[in-house]
Amino acid sequence: MRGAVEIARGVAAGELRAADVLEEHLAAVRAREGEIHAFNLVTDDAARARAAAIDARVAAGAAVGPMAGVVVALKDNMCTRGVPTTCSSRILEGWRPPYDATVVRRLEAADAVVIGKTNLDEFAMGSSTENSAFGPTRNPHDPTRVPGGSSGGSAAAVAAGMATVSLGSDTGGSIRQPAALCGLVGVKPTYGVVSRQGLVAFASSLDQIGPFARSVADAALVLEAIAGHDPLDSTSIPRPAPALGPALAEGVRGMRIGRVVDLPEGCEPEVLARLEESFAALVAAGATVVDVTLPSLSYGLTAYYLIAPAEASSNLARYDGVRYGLRVDAEDVNAMYAATRAAGFGDEVKRRIMLGTYALSAGYYDAYYGKALKVRRLIADDFARAYASCDAILTPTSPTVAFPLGAKTSDPLTMYLCDVFTIPTNLAGHAAMSVPFGSGAHGLPVGVQVLAPALGEHAMFRVAAELERRAPGARGG
C-alpha cells in the first residue's frame, strides 16, 4: 500500500491521479467495511469531486498542497460543515454542523481527500470502540478482537487500507492505544499544538487531535499540515507547525532515553519483551538509556478518572434537546431534558457524567476534583524531573495486545486500566506517540510509546523514526 508521502509526491508530480488513489481506497471500503465497521459515514461523492478537482489543478499546472490526493478518514467527533457529525451518539444523530473544524479546513487547504467519518466510543469515552451507539468496530488484524479506542474507527480504517491516514482524538490514550492494537503509528501532540476548534469536547484540558498512519513519515506529514496556532482556540500555542521532516533521518546518536524503573505492573510479558528490545535497538543506534522514576505515575488513573468526567459532565450538558440533536418530548422543559439525555446517552457516557457531576458538586469538590488537580501537578512535576536527565522516555503503549470483543465490557475499571501508560501524558499536556514494534500474543501488533516533553515533537519523531527502522521485521531493521 502506498503511503501518504508517496501519494502526495506522485499526485503533485502528475505521476498519480488522486481519483485513482481514491478508488483504490473505496475498493478496500467495499471489500472490508461490512466486516470491520470503521465508518459511520463514507462521503464517497464529495471525495470523488475533491479528487477530480485536485487532478484538474495538477493537469492545469497549478500548485497543490502538501497532502495532495492523500485519503484521510476523520473521527466522527470533528465538525464537518453540512456532513453529519455524531460522536457515535444517539443524542447527535442527524446533526449537520454549520461549520468546519480547524483541522478539517487545514486538511482541505493541504489538498487531502476526506473519505468519511469514523466510528468511536460514544463521545470518545472508552478504550475499545464498543461503546458506539452504532455498533462496535473490529480489528482488521483479527475481527474477533477490538481495535482499541476510542478512535478505533480511524485506526481500523488505516489498518485495513480504507484510508491512507486518519485523524483521531486523544484524551487519555485514544489515539496511541488503538494505534498500538492495530499496528499503526499514532501521535498525541503536545496540548495546544493542534487546534481543538471544531473537535467535539470530551475533556477540554486533555483533548488533543493527532494522526494515525502506517509510517512515521506519513504521521509527520499529517501533523505538519494540521498543527500550528489557531486564533479560534484560546489554548492553542502561538507557534507555527513544527517542521518534522528533518527529524526523521537524524538518528538518535547521543540521545538519552529514559527507562521508567517504577513502571506500573500488569503488562503482558511479550509487551515487556518488545519494550526491552526497543531500548536495545536505540542503544545500537547510538543512544544511551538512563533510569528515571515517575513515582506519581500510578495515581494518574485516579486523577484522570476524576478530571476527565468532571469536565465531560459540563461539556456534555449542552445536549439538552433545545438547539440540535435528539429531543424526547415531555410535559415541561425539565422533564424533556432528563428524558432526552436518558435516551440519547449510552451507559458509559451516563456513568462518566454522573461521576463528574458528583466530583464537582458541593461538599465533594475538595475530596475528589480538587485533589485530582493536585495529583495532576505531581505527575507533571515527576515528568519535569525525569526530563532533566533524558530527552525521551519509552514505555509500553498498552499493557496488552488487542483483546476479544466483550472481554472488558462488564467492569468499567478493567477497561480503564487499558490507559494506564497513556493517561499521564495527557495530564501533563506533553507529546507522545505509539510506534509499532513487533508482535505479541497471538501474533498481534505491539506498540512502544515514545514520550517527550511539551513541544518535544522533534526529539520524539527522531526516536520514533529510529524505532521504525529497527523494528522486528522492518526492511533493513
Binding site: M78, C79, T85, C87, L92, W95, P97, P98, Y99, A101, R196, Q197, G198, L199, V200, A201, A203, S204, S205, P231, L232, D233, S234, T235, A310, E311, S313, S314, A317, R318, D320, V322, R323, Y324, V333, N334, Y337, T357, L360, S361, A362, Y365, Y369
Partner: protein
C-alpha cells in the same frame, strides 16, 4: 418621588446591590457575532453563541478594557483573574453553563461616593456572559407560570456583562436610588454601556435584610425584576417592611429570590435557595488567565474621561450652583456640562446658561445643535435687561426649535424690545392709580398685594415689562 419610608421601632435596613450592565462592544464576549439589541431573533448567532459542539470561546479585548474602565472609575484594584464555568440548565443558557468570574475577578475593592458624601464599598466588578431571551406563550399574559411553551432567541446570549457587586453598606432606599443613579452616570461617562434600565442594558438585583442595632445582619432576600430607579426604592421599602412584619410576628426570613411586581407594588417568592443551586463551579478549561499588566492598566486609567462627581464639582464652580443640586446633576447626566462651559467661554452668563440648558435642552443630547455663541447672546440679553425672563424663555424655545439663530433679531421680530425706563414708571403709576387699595396694603407690608399691581403693569405692557424692574419701582414708590 416618595421619601424613604422609615421602619418601625429600631429596625435597621441593610442593602447591597448587584448591578449587571451590558458592555457597548461591537461583538460578543467570546465570539464575533454582533452585540446588537432589538434585531430579528437569532440573527446574531455563531457556533460559540449557540454552544454548538466543538465551539470554543476567545475573549474580546475591548470588553476587557470596558470592564477595566468601570473598575478603575469605581476605584477598584484591577488584578490578574480567571474564568469559571457556572453550571445550570436553562433553555436560554446555550452551553448549560455560564462563563463568569468566580474567586478571581478582574476588579476588586473599590468604592463609590454618593452625591451627599456617603461612601459605598464595591466588593467586585467582574466579567461574564449574558443569556439569551425566553418568551413565554399561552397561559395568562405571557407569564412563565401556566405557559404552554416558550420561544428562545439567542441574540443576547454571550453579550458581555459586567456585574458590579456593592458591599452591604446601603442603609436607606434613598441611598440605594442614589447609588444606582450615580453608578449609571459613571458607566455612561466612561463609555462602557448606555446603562438603560428600561431597555435592560442595566439590571439591578437588590439584596435586602433587616436587623436590630448590635445584632448580626438578618437573612437576606434577593429581589429581581426591578426595572427603574424609582422601582429600586419602592421595592426596598416594601421588602424591608415585609421582613419586619414577618419578624415582629414571630416568623423567620427564608433566604430566597423574590420577584418585584411593579404594578402591584410588592415582592413575591420566585424560588427558595436550596441545594438545587449547586453550580459546580470549576475553572473554564477553554480559556486562559487574564493578567493585565501595569502598562495596560495605566493606559486605560489615563484615557478615562472626567467622572460625574468631578464634572458636577467643576460645573458648580463655574455657575455658582450647588454641586448636588438638580440643575447640575441633570446637566452633567445629560453630558451637557461641556456645552455650558462653551457658552460661558463665548461670553455668556454661566448661571443663566445652566438654567437654560437644564430647562430647554432635555432632548438636545451632549452636543446640542444651538451654537454656544447664540445661547451666550441670549443670556446677555436677559442679564442686561434687554429682554425679560419670560421673553427669554420664549426665545430659548425658538432658538432650540430653529437650531440656533441671531437672538437679537429674533427678539426684535417678536417685538421683545425692552421698555424705556420712563415708560415703565408711567405704567406703574397708572396701576397704582387704578388700584389704590392694593398699593395701600403693599405699603403696609403685605407683600402679596404687589401681585395685582404687577399684573396690571404686565397686562398694560403686553408682557414686555420686566417683572423685577416693576417690583423695584413699586418698592421705591412705597418707600417714597
Amino acid at each position: 418621588m416618595s421619601a424613604t419610608a422609615t421602619l418601625p421601632g429600631d429596625w435597621q435596613l441593610v442593602v447591597g446591590l448587584e448591578v449587571h450592565v451590558e458592555l457597548a462592544t461591537r461583538t460578543k464576549l467570546f465570539s464575533a457575532s454582533a452585540n446588537r439589541f432589538g434585531d430579528d431573533p437569532n440573527t446574531h448567532i455563531d457556533p460559540v453563541t449557540l454552544g454548538l459542539p466543538g465551539a470554543l470561546p476567545v475573549l474580546n479585548r475591548h470588553a476587557v478594557e470596558l470592564a477595566m474602565r468601570i473598575g478603575l472609575a469605581l476605584r477598584c484594584t484591577v488584578r490578574p483573574c480567571t474564568f469559571h464555568r457556572k453550571n445550570y440548565f436553562y433553555p436560554d443558557l446555550p452551553k448549560a453553563y455560564q462563563i463568569s468570574q468566580y474567586d478571581q475577578p478582574l476588579n476588586v475593592d473599590g468604592h463609590l461616593v454618593l452625591p451627599g458624601g456617603v461612601r459605598i464599598g464595591i466588593e467586585r466588578a467582574h466579567l461574564e456572559e449574558d443569556t439569551g431571551k425566553s418568551t413565554h406563550f399561552g397561559g395568562a399574559s405571557g407569564r412563565i407560570h401556566g405557559s404552554d411553551h416558550s420561544l428562545i432567541d439567542y441574540n443576547r446570549a454571550g453579550v458581555p456583562l459586567v456585574e458590579i457587586v456593592s458591599r452591604p453598606d446601603i442603609r436607606t432606599s434613598e441611598q440605594a436610588r442614589q447609588y444606582v443613579a450615580e453608578l449609571r452616570a459613571i458607566i455612561a461617562a466612561v463609555g462602557a454601556s448606555d446603562a438603560k434600565m428600561e431597555e435592560g442594558s442595566m439590571r439591578v438585583d437588590v439584596n435586602v435584610s433587616v436587623h436590630r442595632p448590635g445584632t448580626p445582619f438578618g437573612t437576606r432576600c434577593e429581589i429581581k425584576n426591578v426595572n427603574s430607579i424609582r422601582g429600586v426604592g419602592r421595592a426596598i421599602d416594601y421588602e424591608a417592611r415585609r421582613q419586619v412584619d414577618v419578624l415582629e410576628s414571630g416568623g423567620t426570613i427564608r433566604q430566597e429570590t423574590r420577584h418585584w411586581d411593579d404594578a402591584a407594588g410588592r415582592t413575591n417568592t420566585l424560588r427558595t435557595k436550596e441545594d438545587a443551586d449547586d453550580y459546580r463551579y470549576f475553572l473554564e478549561p477553554d480559556l486562559v488567565p487574564l493578567v493585565p499588566d501595569a502598562a495596560w492598566i495605566e493606559r486605560v486609567r489615563a484615557a478615562l474621561p472626567p467622572l460625574p462627581a468631578a464634572r458636577r464639582g467643576a460645573l458648580a464652580t463655574l455657575t455658582g450652583a450647588a454641586p448636588d443640586g438638580e440643575a447640575v446633576s441633570v446637566v452633567v447626566e445629560r453630558g451637557q456640562d461641556d456645552y455650558v462651559r462653551a457658552v460661558a467661554d463665548a461670553g455668556g452668563d454661566a448661571a443663566r446658561a445652566l438654567t437654560y440648558v437644564q430647562q430647554g435642552y432635555a432632548e438636545a443630547g451632549p452636543t446640542p445643535a444651538v451654537p454656544a455663541a447664540d445661547l451666550a447672546a441670549l443670556t446677555r440679553l436677559e442679564r442686561d435687561g434687554a429682554v425679560t425672563a419670560t421673553q427669554a424663555k420664549v426665545l430659548l424655545a425658538d432658538l432650540v426649535a430653529a437650531g440656533g439663530g441671531d437672538v437679537a433679531a429674533m427678539a426684535r421680530a417678536k417685538g421683545f424690545e425692552a421698555m424705556d425706563a420712563g415708560d415703565l414708571e408711567a405704567l406703574v403709576d397708572a396701576a397704582i392709580a387704578a388700584d389704590p387699595d392694593a398699593f395701600a396694603k403693599y405699603r403696609a407690608g403685605e407683600a402679596k398685594a404687589a401681585g395685582a399691581l404687577v399684573g396690571r403693569v404686565m397686562k398694560a405692557s403686553k408682557g414686555k415689562a420686566d417683572g423685577k424692574l416693576v417690583t423695584a419701582i413699586l418698592e421705591r414708590r412705597a418707600r417714597a
